[in-house]
Amino acid sequence: MTRTDWQAMLRRTSFIELNARQRARALLDDGSARELCGPFDRIESPWLEPQGVVPQSDDGVVVMKGALDGDPAVVVAVEQAFQGGGIGEVSGVKMATALSLAARDTRAGTPTPAVLLLETGGVRLQEANLGLAAVAEVCSAILELRALQPVVGVIAGSLGCYGGMSIAAALCTRLIMTEEARLGLNGPEVIESEAGIEEFDASDHPLIWSLDGGRQRVGTGLADTLVLDDVTALRTAVIDAVRAGMPAEQRSRRIKELRAALEAVDPARPPEPAALADVWARAGAKGDGR
């Protein structure tokens, strides 16, 4: 058993503590960050005020251009404190456009990888179909850029990445998580309200993290890197992920592996969460088995 260095834990600078703007800045090289479509541009969602929701002047998404370990990069961060990180028409377009522009710059000779900070419940319900369309645009923009440059997804916590945006996360070239981060298609409350508390008790934290938590997702190969909630550790992991470049085959294209993983599990007799990594490893799916 490894002895945790508690003093080091206390000395760390928590990344989770930071808001979206601070997170984006913390990843980029000092002094290099420059916000695009920032709050002073006042690009707000027109759909919230009529529904009695106070809009935010950045619509909850921060786009930051800058240098990552000396090279150009763009960071797009979702602010979890605003509408549960829900993606609406404006915030979705900000994210999709940033990715498309990075692809354009890359094609024009300035390779520009992207980092997505995903703390989001998915589509913003107040914007209904427009939000759905926006998430589709984000996915399509990820596909466009990832053919040229790495798109690194970071789920640090504490909200997690759920709904349509979990699909966007799954499309990322590499995915970095902390132990406190969660990744899943349907959020715990959604499962409980749809399928009943017998199916899923959304107040059962060990259950939630045993399925959706960073350790499990990395262990089962649905995410790549598990890091400590620490600014330096996160930044180092992001730089490494970008430096690792393009994989031979993107995770979302490893259909055979994913199918084998699905077939290895009998939904009528699901394995214990802790056993899933082994079950999948035997079936030929990749994970680091932690």
């Binding site: 945790t4 508690w6 834990m9 206390l10 928590s14 989770i16 503590e17 916590g157 504490s158 132990e179 406190e180 107040s203 059962d204 934290h205 060990p206 993290w209 938590g213 960073g214 350790r215 909630d229």
Partner: protein
Amino acid sequence: MAATHVPTTTRDWTRRRAAKRERLAAVQPFVSGRLVDADHMRDALQALLRPGDRVALEGDNQKQADFLAEALAGCDPDAVHDLHLLISSISLRDHLDLFERGVARRLDFAYAGPQSVRMAQLLADGKVEVGAIHTYVELYARMFVDLIPDVALLCAEQADRDGNLYTGPSTEDTPTIAEATAFSDGVTVVQVNELVDELPRVDIPGDWVDLVVRSPRPFALEPLFTRDPRHIGQVEILMAMIALRGIYERHQVTSLNHGIGYDTAAIELLLPTYGEELGLRGKICRHWALNPHPTLIPAIESGWVESVHCFGGEPGTERYVAARPDVFFTGRDGTLRSNRVLCQLAGQYAVDLFIGSSLQIDAAANSSTVTEGRLTGFGGAPNMGHDPHGRRHPSPAWLGLLTGEAPALRGRKLVAQITQTFRTGGTPAFVETLDAITVGKDAEMPIPPIMIYGDDVSHVVTEEGVAYLYRATSLAERREAVAAIAGATPIGRGIDERRVDALRRDGLVALPEDLKVDVRRASRSLLAARSVEDLVAWSGGLYDPPARFRTW
């Protein structure tokens, strides 16, 4: 000369003792030695109890004799009915099922937090007769005066073959109820999690215990005192800074009790950072009457805390507390020994300060956590939140609030209320009329259920500043001081700035700048721990947070 009444017949002076013998004889079919067969607990209770019995059912702040409560609720109302229940904290469904089924009729209680809506309904339906809504200490006190239990249903972690009990860290009220019952020829029945040959320590001697049942599941224990630092925001931090400078530092508060809540958790988490910066370590907050709050761990670890006496335990802190015996009261076995009544006594007579969050405060500083449609009761807040006139020993903090006319001078305990001017959802915390007034009328209470009376409150803290109410010489002045820190609430809008300036000059009110509190510094980076994980790290891995507080 007045006539003396001379009894002509000989009275039987041992009726309770005889009744106890009869009761214990009646349960014999279900008992071997002291041990009741868990499968026949209901039958045993039906044999033991008489209609109209006064039954103390252990429902403490945290631990619940839930197996016995369930067995009692299942009793046949034809056999067992019209019981008079004494429960300090009504928190289980079973507690109120008893009344719905007619097993019990009369109730004396102190707190009904989780069941407060149903409680109000049962009262309206005439299903329950309330003797009185007490504060904790009163209810236990009356068990020794005019509410002596016939039967007590208690819980403990372990029992040995002689009925000796180990309560575990959450001793809470068990010894008190057991004493009131055992020494008045009542019957004590205890559910235990385990039967063992040897106890780690004896919390209650076996000859106070009549019957023991091994519960099929451990008794319920709520982590009531755990607050996740993630939910502490800038405003709580600002208020904590104001409280530290405006109350703790100014009055040299060395011994104290904190209520439950994020406001006071913020103060605990600011000691190792802001408090350290102010050079206050060793000068304030040395002795505590407090449950083992996980948010106190950083202050303990950085050497602020000399002693903590506890009302009860707190799930997850067992190993940590056991590893810090110089600070906590621990048994020879090493684990925490708590005692709610003694800690209440300490909180009333031995400490300089009580500070707690309030939900509603009126213009005269009366405060209440009662809200409409609920009958929550009082709990222990009024016990902690008052100035005990029986105190005589001086301390700098107590003497600092000197009151009265010579020679009848006395100090005062500091009773502080802390609240944001507006609560979540934009509800003002400062109101013209407390909800408690309506609730009291609806429940036909003889007096409104005010938690803490305005004339006991010495300080009110909000994000606007501190009101030093003990300095007010009239009710009018007290009202002005409250208004001065009540922000944009209807109460706060009633005072003009010039008057506030005058109150500041006279020392009745202090704003952050008067206290040299830099509002801009109120950020989460000032918290010694910002997550439950940080608390675990501070404890060196000794704190085991309950599952619901784990986010990893």
